[in-house]
Amino acid sequence: MPDVAADSAASASGGALVPFVPDTEIAVVYPLHHGLKPPITRVSISWARGNNLRVSLLRNPPYNSDSDGEIGGKVVEVNLDSGAADVRESVQWRRIAYGSVTPFALLQSRKNSASSLSKLQSSPSPFHLDWWEHVMEYSKDIKELLGNPKSNYDPLIEDPKEVLKKGEEPTSLKAAWELMEMFYADKLCQSWLPERLVDWLADYDCLLSGDQPTVHSKLVEFQGTLVTLQVIEDDPKYWEVISSALAIGWLEIVVKLLRLHGSYQLDQLGHRETENGLVETVAVLISMMPRFRPELKNGKLGECFEAKPDFMKAWEKWREQITKLDSSAFWVPCHHRQTREGLKNLIQIMLGNTKILCTATAHWIELYISHFLFIRPFTAGLEGMYNLAQKCVQMKPMSSPHKLLRLIIGIIGENTEVVLAECSRGFGPWMVAHAIELLTARSDQADILLHKEHDDIGGISMEELHRLVYAQVLTSHFLTWQIAPVYLTSCMKQGMSLLEFLLYRQPAQHNQLLLKNLEICRLYELDHVSSNIMKVYEILKRILDFIYQMNTPSLVSLSSANSLPVAFVDSET
């Protein structure tokens, strides 16, 4: 489906960090392959299920019945939507569609009961969860659909040279969902958002390597050459990837790489004692890095401090230790130039040297993360985060930013319309319809914006519009059309009418489908629709009555007046 919100984003983001290219006046032209011998003299169109368009392409009829032996035309069906970006397999997409029904319906029913409850009592009940907590439950269910969490399975014998662990292939759908969850719904991580972003980048940096390299892609590349390297510390690449990994806070990888340093080898220890001492000291310092966050996942390095004063104290002390090491006398007897320079570089990163951080990182988001870690750990508030992002984008400009990066800018720029537009453009109707719940979880402002009724789109809100658009995507497939009613009935103004049109367009001559239609009518109390469906069906009875007049069989009493005459007679010849 063409994105409904893209144009409004273009106007809403005037003067923004990453200016949107407004939708060009000229629409994209797609080829429509038919395999007929030209010329095509007539093209006729008809909407099929949902967003499927059937196009009949007709050739000129032969003159004077002179056949040229060609077929006369083709009917082709074009599907105009993709349910969700990144999901190439239709099976996988349907699984997401099925799986999101229950969490969505549950959240809507909670919303309804919460609103009816708030009408009854003025103060919120202490026995009930805050709304954002319900949204977080919903978010957890949705995230599970988008990919399983990385397995914590650790092999018994760990490969010392395996720097990057292979986890599941992350999807940008999940990456985008997590971004919105952390900024809009998860109240608990608001005090440590920068560190939360560090975690996010650790999971999804690999998605950003497209035309531009990332720290992740550098590491993957280096990992490939690792086995062939004889003297690892002589290779400038070794020091380069270590500083890159350190810059974005992948501490355990840094420490692991440092301990591959040749000076750790038993036969070398004797004559490289000082050198080894320096490497180990840096590794220890790195693993002791104070982190301004409540906790770290198993196996992650650093020391956590939740209270700002405690963190401050630890941070100062840590920096003092680094400075002391930097000016220590042990560097003089360290004769291995690459080691000396490499370690010094790491020290500069830890001390927050902007220039070196800039060299060590590839994308602006990586530079951004390194700022949080080593320069401005107290960056708080979206305004501060936005200003910092602006600075990083200036230092590392990109010609065509990744859709996830555009989404981040929209989020920290506090522009809900841009976020919606980016969601719609980059991640498809499924994402928008479901992520709206995150956007409105804690923000009254977003709530007002999304529920404001727009005259130009027929008097519905953005929330309703995006649900209708998604429901129509669902109706495009014969296996998912029957879950569209769940979304349509959550649309206050136009959902029920669209549902009626949808039911009216379902084929009535097939038993199973007919019963499904009647079941949907029963669930949503659409008695007038079911009587119409029955009427369409009853027309077949007329045919039967005719036969009845012609020859009265012995068992006619079995066919009761109310029964469904089943005359699905295919005219196969």
């Binding site: 063409p2 007539r42 967003n51 105009l80 296996l479 007679v569 295919d570």
Partner: protein
């Protein structure tokens, strides 16, 4: 992106899908009516299951009758006749297509016919080459033979205007696809003719009190009133306060907002919401999707185009498809 759902015989001149897109009727230059079916509703592969010759000349257009009235089609042939064909079983025979009724008119030919279901009654508007249109009503829902002429109208907003003998090349009719039974039946009618007064699209509403059809709105700005109309399409309304009607002329496609509640003069309030350009030639066909949010069009340039409004109410071409072999 595209997949083939049916292959058509040589000489096919027109195609038409039924209400649920599960049956396809095609007509040919030598008068054959073919019906295509799929093995089950999940499948989208259609093959011809019956083929009969209904006319000596060519079939120009096929329209399915609404499903409440059975499996039946109206066929307009190149001699200007209109005939109704129904699939029925007789004498214990399997289902067959049988002729129910033929509509002839002296001195003029049928250009277009469309069906509307309003409060359990089936109506048919037929437009003729002399600029007249007739509204028929089906008397017995089980007898597609029994049609009663309800009204004969001339597509002018002002009944006193006079003009000579009209000659029309094509006509476009679109019923208000309402599900809401409380509304009065209405349709929009436009002509492509040599008579300026007839051309512009008019919205016709049935006046229950006086039992007659009255033109309540003219969908054209003063300067465009004589423009020949190539196609009209009334959008499904799932809850808008106004109706959306698309009208195609040589100037482009105009999207009209029509407010249903008439003002004191009995006229509907009109607003020209957009003029979509991009077509080089004539628009052949316009089809609204189920939600009334997307308009699909085809035309003499062979392109299929999709149009949508954005949140600011600006209509844009969202995508286009160019047939290639």
């Amino acid at each position: 992106m595209e997949k083939s759902v049916a292959t058509l015989d040589e000489g096919t001149t027109c195609t038409s899908w039924n209400y649920c897109g599960q049956r396809l009727a095609t007509g040919s230059f030598n008068g054959f009516l073919s019906i295509f079916d799929s093995p089950d509703p999940a499948s989208s592969s259609f093959t011809a299951t019956s083929k009969i010759r209904i006319h000596e000349g060519g079939i120009v257009k096929i329209v399915w009758i609404p499903p409440e009235y059975g499996d039946a089609v109206a066929c307009i042939c190149n001699d200007g006749s209109l005939s109704l064909w129904e699939e029925i079983a007789e004498d214990g025979q399997p289902l067959q297509w049988k002729l129910c009724e033929t509509f002839h008119s002296k001195g003029s030919t049928v250009l277009e016919a469309q069906f509307g279901v309003i409060r359990t009654s089936l109506k048919m508007v037929v437009a003729y080459s002399d600029g007249h249109a007739k509204v028929y009503e089906l008397l017995d829902p089980f007898e597609l033979k029994n049609w009663q002429l309800q009204a004969e109208i001339q597509n002018v907003i002002d009944s006193v205007s006079t003009f000579g003998k009209a000659s029309c090349f094509s006509a476009s009719i679109s019923w208000n696809p309402q599900l809401n039974e409380s509304q009065e039946p209405s349709f929009v009618l436009g002509f492509n003719s040599d008579t300026p007064q007839l051309n512009s699209s008019k919205v016709w509403v049935f006046d229950q009190a006086h039992h007659r059809w009255i033109p309540v709105a003219e969908l054209a700005l003063p300067l465009d009133k004589s423009d020949q109309v190539f196609a009209v399409a009334w959008a499904p309304n799932i809850g808008r306060a106004y109706e959306l009607i698309a009208v195609a002329t040589h100037k482009g496609i105009t999207i009209w907002h029509v407010r249903l509640n008439p003002d004191l003069d009995g006229r509907l309030s009109l607003e020209k919401a957009a003029l979509l350009s991009g077509y080089e030639g004539e628009v052949w066909q316009m089809e609204w999707d189920m939600s009334g949010m997307t308009l699909a069009t085809s035309g003499t340039d062979g392109m299929v185009r999709l149009w949508q409004s954005n949140l600011n109410g600006a209509w844009l071409e969202q995508a286009a498809f160019e047939p290639t072999s």
